[in-house]
């Protein structure tokens, strides 16, 4: 019975692949290079996935770039400096942040953060260095930048919780050796704890990237769903789209078979990317636990 249930789970996993391939078949036949088409126009029946794929990669990459210093800073403060009470408070906060549903980040991003970011971040930056295409205006609020910012808050708990457990497991002898040589706390972190955990932190970052790539609701609600980025304007402050935002905002009203199967095809691409990302993180983690077991 337990074996049978495991087989059912394995079968579900296989069926996810099989169904997505079957249902995206019409679009693959129609245009095998759909992933590289730069135009998505439902009225003309042209379904090119490149803007959405680029939007997915860009929003997650920017979010990771924001989240890494925040998470590492928090984790180092947590493990090395924070008094016990502060530590307890921080750990509860991070755990609770991880439980907030994505759609809540979405409504908050849309109605609270978007006006804030527009007035206090986008407008000043566009006003001062807007001549650089990457920061050119106008300030819409809803943009690739906003989506990356909201994603950042969502992936910080993932990187932090893993990094904290890695930093805490640094061998005490190494720490004590450094301290006996007169090292400051930061020097212990810099020369012992971080080098010791760097592989694991890298795995945590990849896991967070995988989470960001597949994140749907918050991103759909704040990215602005423009299907021309980055071909109209490469600006971070321009509205863009992601694979997930396209599926979430179009699938329930798609009637054309080709439209539906193109969206399913995008989902298949997302599935392959996230599985590859997650498997590589898992490989690294297995290697670390083997190394730790060997020591």
């Amino acid at each position: 019975m337990v074996g049978a249930s495991s087989l059912i789970v394995v079968a579900f996993f296989m069926m996810i692949f099989a169904m997505l391939v079957v249902r995206s078949y019409p679009s693959i036949i129609n245009d095998p290079l759909m992933a590289f088409g730069s135009t998505w126009d439902v009225n003309l029946g042209i379904y090119g996935g490149l803007p959405a794929i680029l939007g997915t990669l860009a929003s997650s990459a920017i979010a990771v770039a924001f989240a890494v210093p925040i998470s590492l800073g928090m984790s180092i403060f947590f493990t090395e400096y924070a008094p016990k009470k502060v530590r307890a408070a921080l750990s509860v906060t991070i755990d609770m942040l991880a439980t907030i549903p994505s759609v809540i980040f979405g409504i908050w991003g849309l109605w609270v953060i978007a006006p804030f970011v527009k007035t206090y971040i986008q407008e000043p930056i566009i006003g001062s260095i807007g001549f650089i295409p990457l920061f050119s205006g106008p300030a819409y609020g809803l943009s690739l930048f906003l989506a990356s910012l909201v994603l950042t808050f969502m992936i910080v708990p993932i990187i932090s919780s893993l990094t904290i457990s890695l930093l805490t497991s640094t061998p005490v002898e190494l720490r004590e050796a450094m301290i006996s040589l007169g090292a400051t706390r930061w020097e212990v972190v810099r020369h012992v704890a971080l080098p010791f955990s760097k592989l694991g932190i890298f795995a945590a970052i990849i896991l967070a990237l995988g989470r960001g790539l597949g994140e749907t609701m918050a991103v759909t609600m704040v990215i602005g769903n423009s299907f021309v980025w980055p071909f109209s304007s490469p600006s971070l402050f321009a509205p863009a789209s992601t694979i997930t935002s396209k599926i979430a905002s179009e699938l329930y009203e798609a009637v054309d078979v080709l439209h539906v199967s193109s969206l399913v095809g995008l989902g298949l691409i997302l599935l392959v990317i996230t599985l590859a990302v997650n498997l590589s993180a898992r490989l690294i983690i297995t290697r670390i636990s083997r190394r730790n077991a060997a020591e």
Binding site: M1, V2, G3, S5, S6, V9, V10, F12, F13, M15, I16, M19, L20, R23, P69, I70, S71, L72, G73, M74, I76, F77, T93, I94, D95, L97, T99, I100, P101, S102, V103, I104, F105, G106, I107, W108, W111, V112, V156, T184, W186, G210, L213, G214, E215, T216, M221, T244, I247, A248, L251, Y252, V264, L270, L271, T274, L275, N278, L279, R282
Partner: protein, 280 residues
């Protein structure tokens, strides 16, 4: 001079670390503050118990969405929790070291990494496209599949920490394997399995993406699991992006309820679990 600069550097670094920690935790308070600030004002008995008012007229509520979320979650739990527990037992007791076991474990872990919208897409292609009908069944399937890896992992972990002495004592008494597993190991691991299942329930309560094109939405009371069903999550999305002040206010109210539900379960599991089994 050298020592002083090292100390100065240390102070500077502490300041930077505190600022970064602040950046990590401020969003939580900001989100909760916004939800309470905007959500409390729409709370009323009518809001919690009545159907949405016809468009344009004020009043009305989200009663059908509250019931819808509970119905879909219960059916999803009926699928996901048993399959998750059985798979966890298989991984912990029957295939811990075998090749088959590690293959299943890899697949279960990969399943937890599949984006929720892709699982929703699977339910959509399998059920909605086949029967040409939006239905709560497809939503149930998607959320049920999402629960499996969470429950399986919690089950496997809490069964692995049960001491081998107990298993060996059982074997020495000639108790059959399935009885050792259920009567001894599983009863010891019960706490962990229950907390894992509750956390999985909380987790799917917030999932929205798989519901958008499966359960869809409805302005009426649920009549059957095979019909489109309104849920809190989809209501928040639809109302929040609609831009109508009245609907946006109701979306904040629904957000407050949803966050209360999810956080209550999480806090309860954490405090209760810690007391009972020394760390959840």
């Amino acid at each position: 001079m050298r020592l002083l600069s090292r100390r100065a550097k240390e102070k500077l670094i502490i300041a930077v670390l505190i600022a970064l920690s602040g950046a990590a935790v401020i969003p939580l308070f900001w989100i909760i503050g916004s939800i309470v600030w905007n959500g409390v004002s729409v709370m009323s008995i009518e809001f919690l118990t009545s159907l949405p008012a016809p468009f344009g007229s004020s009043g009305g509520g989200i009663g059908n969405a509250i019931i819808g979320t509970l119905i879909i979650n219960l059916f999803a739990s009926g699928l996901g929790i048993p399959l998750g527990i059985l798979t966890g037992i298989y991984l912990a007791e029957y295939a811990y070291d075998s090749k088959m076991g590690s293959a299943v474990r890899t697949i279960v872990e990969s399943l937890s990494g599949v984006p929720s919208i892709v699982i929703g897409l699977f339910a959509f292609t399998l059920i909605v496209l086949t029967f040409r009908h939006y239905t709560g069944v497809a939503a149930t399937l998607a959320l049920g599949i999402m629960m499996i890896p969470l429950v399986a992992k919690a089950t496997e972990e809490s069964m692995r920490v049960v001491s081998n002495d107990l298993r060996e004592a059982g074997m020495a008494l000639g108790i059959p394997k399935y009885n050792i597993t259920t009567r001894i190991v599983l009863s010891m691991a019960k706490g962990g399995v229950i907390s894992g299942s509750l956390l999985a329930f909380a987790r799917i309560s917030g999932e929205t993406a798989p519901l958008l094109f499966t359960a869809l939405f409805s302005f009426y009371w649920p009549t059957g699991i095979d019909q489109p069903i309104a849920t809190l999550q989809v209501l928040i999305y639809n109302y929040a992006i609609s831009g109508f002040a009245d609907w946006v206010a109701k979306a904040w109210g629904a957000s407050l309820l949803l966050v209360l539900l999810v956080m209550t379960i999480n806090v309860a599991v954490r405090t209760f679990g810690r007391k009972k089994c020394g760390g959840a």
